[in-house]
Structures are given as structure tokens and as C-alpha cells.
């Protein structure tokens, strides 16, 4: 049990340290644009995305997607280079932080906009009888978007093998959830007849266990499921924009999924945990260095290679 939690913990640790590194690079002016980090929400990424099979399952994510991407692909180097705008990045620096694609992973930055796309991919997997499960990750703020409801209705009616996983982190940017949403978020999908489950999204073991069983249900029944993960965004919405008080953040520090998990496994595996953490730290450091020294992009090669549209556009 400690061994299996160690693997989950290290997934979370990789996400946490990679994002902290990205925030620090932003602070140093070494990254253009911004990053939306999932500090505090790593158990959702490791626990839900971690149970999927990258060879046949699909993940569709949003602007706050680094955790999902790393849990699905473990491509620290590709992510760091991408966010740093390098040709060696997973999207050759075109998409940047919030528009990632590698094999069966797709993310984009408009709230709710990827719901129908995910639904369509789920339907295609059903038509093609691949047994693949499509998981769409959204946030509680996304429930303000109409297309989410259109898509839940169709997912239920057409029995799409789709898992809708909601990270309820308490905020839409700066607006608290209870200030903007009427009713109970956990019943948003059950009104369409989609079986729904709520889990403590800060307990990686609980998330992993429930997600495994729900993904299995989606796969075997070929119908949609809804999973609401209660979590808390410990970091800023984007870069350093955060108006919350230190006291408010401190009050939630006990919810930190990394601390909770580490406290549990360190009882038995303290030395192994520390060693593994150092290996992750080294890996991230090397990823930054490699990206830093990657060959620079030219506009002409961007048109040719990234878009395949060179001559038509030039």
C-alpha cells in the first residue's frame, strides 16, 4: 500500500515542483505569457488521469492543465520547453501553457469550449468500438457556460463513454463559487440521468480508488459518469494574481494533498521518498536547462513545420 501511494505521491510531487519552477521562471521574465497552476489540486490530476491508459484513453483538459498533462504523459521536458516557447516543446511552442496536445491529450483555454469536442471523441471511440474512455476535466467555474449543459444532455441521451471530472477548487478566477452558482453543483449531471459521485479531491488514495472504479464503469457500460472532486486552489489563478489573505490560505493549508500523502507514506518510506524527490528535482532542473539551450525557432520554419501551411501563408 505504501508503495502504490508512493507512485501517486511522486506524480503529485512532479506536478507541484514543475509548476513551482514555471512560476519562478515567470518571475524571472524567462517565460512569455502566463501559466495557470494547479497547486493544491494535484491529487485530482494524479488520481483521475493517473488511472487512464494513455494508449487508448483520451484526456481533454482546460487552461489549468499542466497536472493532467504530466499525469497522462509524464513528459516534463516537453511541457517545460513548450511553456518556455521552444521548438522542442510538445507543441513546438505554438500552443504554450494552455493549448497542449500529445497523442491522446488535448487542452485549450476557453471555458467549457472543449466539452463538445471531448463528447465527440467519446462518441467516435464508441462508433469505432475501441473501448477507449474519454475524460474531460473542467472546473466548478465552467458551470457558468451553456455549452456544458448542452453536452451533458447529449452525452446522456446518446450514451457516450465520457467521464466528466470536475475539480471544484472554490473559485472562478477571483470569484468564489457560492457567489456565482445557484443550486448544488454535485447534482448538475444527475438531472440528465448521469450517475454522479463526490469525492474528497485532496486525498489522492480516495480519488484514485473511486476514479478507477468509475472509469471501469464508463468502459464497461459505455455510458457517461460524473465525478465531482472537492479541492482547493492553493496557488494564484494565473501568475501571481491573488487577493486572498495569508490567513485564508493558511486556513486551507491542511488540505494540501501532498502534505497529507507524504505524512502517510513517510512513516515507512522516509528515505525512499526523499531520494525520489531529489531525482524529480534534478529532472526538472535538467528540463529547464535543455529548453534554455534549445535551438531557436524561426518564423518561416514555424509556418512550415508547426502549421504545415508554409507556402500557402508566406
Amino acid at each position: 500500500m505504501f508503495d502504490s501511494e508512493l507512485a501517486l505521491y511522486l506524480k503529485m510531487y512532479t506536478i507541484r515542483r514543475t509548476e513551482e519552477t514555471l512560476l519562478s521562471l515567470i518571475g524571472q521574465g524567462r517565460i512569455a505569457g502566463t501559466v495557470h497552476t494547479c497547486l493544491g489540486q494535484e491529487a485530482c490530476a494524479a488520481g483521475v488521469v493517473g488511472v487512464l491508459n494513455p494508449a487508448r484513453d483520451i484526456v481533454v483538459s482546460n487552461h489549468r492543465n499542466h497536472g493532467h498533462f504530466l499525469a497522462f504523459t509524464d513528459d516534463v521536458e516537453g511541457l517545460v520547453a513548450e511553456v518556455m516557447g521552444r521548438r522542442t516543446g510538445v507543441g513546438k511552442g505554438v500552443g504554450g501553457s494552455q493549448h497542449l496536445h500529445a497523442k491522446n491529450f488535448f487542452s485549450s483555454g476557453v471555458q467549457g469550449g472543449m466539452m463538445p469536442f471531448a463528447l465527440g471523441m467519446a462518441l467516435a471511440e464508441k462508433v469505432n468500438a475501441t473501448g477507449g474512455v474519454t475524460t474531460v476535466m473542467i472546473g466548478d467555474g465552467t458551470f457558468g457556460e451553456g455549452v456544458v449543459y448542452e453536452s451533458m444532455n447529449i452525452a446522456a441521451k446518446w450514451e457516450a463513454p465520457l467521464l466528466i471530472a470536475v475539480e471544484a477548487n472554490g473559485f472562478a478566477q477571483s470569484t468564489p463559487t457560492d457567489v456565482q452558482h445557484a443550486g448544488d453543483l454535485s447534482s448538475r449531471a444527475s438531472t440528465f440521468g448521469i450517475p454522479s459521485t463526490v469525492v474528497d479531491g485532496n486525498d489522492v488514495l480516495a480519488v484514485h480508488e473511486i476514479a478507477a472504479s468509475i472509469v471501469d464503469e464508463v468502459r464497461t457500460t459505455q455510458t457517461p459518469r460524473f465525478l465531482l472532486l472537492n479541492t482547493y486552489r492553493l496557488g494564484p489563478h494565473s501568475k501571481g494574481d491573488d487577493e486572498r489573505t495569508a490567513a485564508e490560505l493558511e486556513a486551507h493549508s491542511g488540505a494540501d494533498p501532498l502534505r497529507r500523502s507524504r505524512d502517510r507514506i513517510a512513516i515507512e518510506l522516509e528515505e525512499q521518498v526523499a531520494l525520489s524527490e531529489r531525482a524529480v528535482d534534478d529532472r526538472i532542473e535538467h528540463a529547464v536547462e535543455a529548453a534554455e539551450h534549445a535551438e531557436p525557432w524561426s518564423y518561416g520554419s514555424f509556418l512550415r513545420e508547426a502549421t504545415g501551411l508554409g507556402e500557402a501563408v508566406e
Binding site: 500552443g95 485549450s108 469550449g113 463538445p116 465527440g120 467519446a122 455549452v147 447529449i154 501551411l309
Partner: protein, 333 residues
């Protein structure tokens, strides 16, 4: 054998479904016995019950899910019942569908055609008569294909899907009953020699080499232009008309050739005249032919207001044979 524009589309859909068992057709009210608001899918769900899906009224979601299917090897033709409703899927088209191939890498194939019946002339009023393809002009990585009666719309539909690039396919509602590829003996039709998407079809009301004037138009406006071409025979005005089909690519080679010969040009579209497709055509013409034109290039388009339901008012507000002829005479004088 005479076929209407509607029949050409129906036959094209039939060929597509028969040739590729992966293709799906999706849209509101498209299954039999209703067969779609304009009957383009009539009979299709009877022949292919598993692959023709009628949807709830959810344009945003159905267009987005069609893109998702297309990206996973299931080509989709999705129908927007009235083209006016493209606003409801605009986020999907602008921020998602048109971005995916360039953003995620060109290796991503997207065999997706969004069919949208557009245009007025049927008294449907302000929200069911517009030519809203104009909202997407200039949007990179979205093909906009608008066949007129001088094209073969069924074949163009096949061609658009085969490009595996997202395409907005514009069908003017008044074109459905029109015969395709046919014209009176006064007119000669010259389809593009290069059959790739984007090439224009040329129609002339004279024989010989030099036209007096060239008209450039697309889609439903071609019906009006056809009448003008025929009426100008009696007036002994030699008119060459160019009908581009891909509104984004504006492959202007053949168009420029005619315009260079006539030195006088008129551009016609049914959408609002200002900031429209015609404005772009005029810009290209003046860049290429600045010293060769005899007269300013005129644009004919709709007046900048809502499209009235009342027949006479709608007729006055949209381009008409009369308004095109008026502009033509002014450009010639």
C-alpha cells in the same frame, strides 16, 4: 439530364455515405420522414439509419462534437438548420475548430463540413435570412465553400470533405430549386480547368474575347447575376461573370484575367455591403490592376439594416436585378 441544386446535394451526400462507411451526418430534424428543414437529407436516414443522427437544438455542442468525431477518424457533415444560427456555434468554429490543425500540428486530420443554408428572399425576416458567412471571412484555417448554380454542389461537398480540413459550406436557400450547370443558349459556362477548391467558374453572355464589364459574385447572388447576363444580351452589353467558390482563398487568376480585359468591374454579394467579401475583392483588384482600370470598382450589397419580412421591403433592401443593372450602367458610363 437536368438536376436541381437540391438534388445535386442529395446525390452528393448519397455518394459520400456509400463510399465511406465511417461518415456520419448530424443535425437538427434531419431524419426521415421530415428529412431536414430544406430536405437536403431527405431519404438519407432511411438508407443509413445508424449514421444519420438527429440532435437536440444545441448548435454549439453538435458542431463541437462533430469536430471531436472528425479528429478520431469519423468524418462528419453537420447541418445548421438556418445559417443565421452559426452564431450559436461561433466559439466552436473560431476558438476551437479553426485553431486545432495549426495549434496542435498539421498532422491532425479533420474531415468536417458544416453545412449552412443562408440568404434571404423568402420573407423569413431579420433572423432567418442573413448571409452570416461574412462573420468568418478572413478567419485563418477555415475553408468557406459557397457553390452557386454554375457549380456542382454535390461534387463540391465531396471535395470539401476529402480535404480533411474544416469547411463551412454555404447553400443559399433560393438556390435549392435552381437547375445546376444549365443556362440558356445565350450563356457559355466555363468551369475551372483546375478542379481544386478555390477556382472560379466563368460565365459569359457573348462570344469573342473582350467583355465590356466583369461581374464578380458568389452563392445566391449568382441567380441575380444570371438574369442580368441574359437581359444584357438584348442591350448588346458583353458581360463576363466570375463565380469563385472558396471564399477564403480568393484564387484570383482567372478573375484578374477577365477584369484586365474588361477594365470595368462590378462586385455583387447578398450580405451587407460594407466590410464584406466584396470589399476584399476590390482591395485585391486595385492592388493588381491599379493602372488598368477605366472606372472605380463598384460594390452591390445589402443595405445596412435588418432584413424585413415584408416582401417588397426585403426586395428593396437586398441586392436585386435592378440594383445590379443600375450599378452596371453607371460603371459603363
Amino acid at each position: 439530364m437536368t438536376r436541381t441544386y437540391l438534388q445535386s446535394l442529395q446525390q452528393g451526400l448519397g455518394r459520400i455515405m456509400e463510399a465511406d462507411p465511417a461518415v456520419h451526418v448530424i443535425g437538427e430534424d434531419i431524419v426521415d420522414p421530415y428529412g431536414g428543414a430544406f430536405k437536403v437529407t431527405k431519404g438519407l436516414s432511411t438508407s443509413y439509419p445508424d449514421r444519420v443522427w438527429s440532435t437536440p437544438i444545441s448548435e454549439g455542442s453538435i458542431v463541437g462534437l462533430s469536430a471531436g468525431m472528425a479528429c478520431r477518424g469519423v468524418p462528419v457533415i453537420v447541418e445548421i438548420m438556418f445559417g443565421d444560427f452559426v452564431t450559436l456555434c461561433a466559439d466552436q468554429v473560431v476558438n476551437h475548430i479553426s485553431k486545432f490543425q495549426a495549434m496542435y500540428g498539421a498532422g491532425l486530420e479533420m474531415p468536417l463540413v458544416i453545412r449552412a443554408p443562408m440568404g434571404g428572399g423568402r420573407g423569413y425576416g431579420p433572423t432567418h435570412s442573413q448571409s452570416l458567412e461574412r462573420l468568418f471571412f478572413g478567419l485563418p484555417h477555415l475553408q468557406i465553400v459557397a457553390p452557386c448554380q454554375f457549380h456542382d454542389p454535390g461534387k463540391e461537398l465531396e471535395r470539401a470533405l476529402a480535404t480533411k480540413k474544416p469547411t463551412l459550406f454555404i447553400e443559399h436557400k433560393l438556390l435549392y430549386p435552381a437547375d445546376v450547370g444549365e443556362a440558356s443558349s445565350n450563356l457559355s459556362i466555363s468551369p475551372p480547368t483546375d478542379a481544386s477548391i478555390g477556382a472560379a467558374t466563368m460565365v459569359r453572355n457573348f462570344s469573342g474575347t473582350t467583355p465590356d464589364i466583369t461581374i464578380v459574385a458568389y452563392g445566391g447572388a449568382a441567380l441575380l447575376v444570371q438574369t442580368v447576363l441574359e437581359r444584357m444580351v438584348a442591350e448588346e452589353v458583353k458581360v463576363a461573370a466570375c463565380f469563385p467558390i472558396d471564399l477564403q482563398l480568393l484564387d484570383m487568376d482567372r478573375v484578374l484575367e477577365e477584369c484586365r480585359a474588361s477594365r470595368r468591374v462590378l462586385v455583387v454579394e447578398e450580405g451587407w455591403r460594407s466590410f464584406g467579401w466584396g470589399s476584399e475583392v476590390v482591395a485585391v483588384l486595385q492592388e493588381a490592376l491599379w493602372h488598368e482600370l477605366e472606372a472605380p470598382v463598384r460594390r452591390v450589397g445589402a443595405a445596412p439594416t435588418v432584413i424585413p419580412a415584408a416582401r417588397e421591403m426585403e426586395k428593396a433592401m437586398l441586392p436585386s436585378v435592378e440594383s445590379i443593372e443600375q450599378a452596371l450602367i453607371e460603371t459603363l458610363s
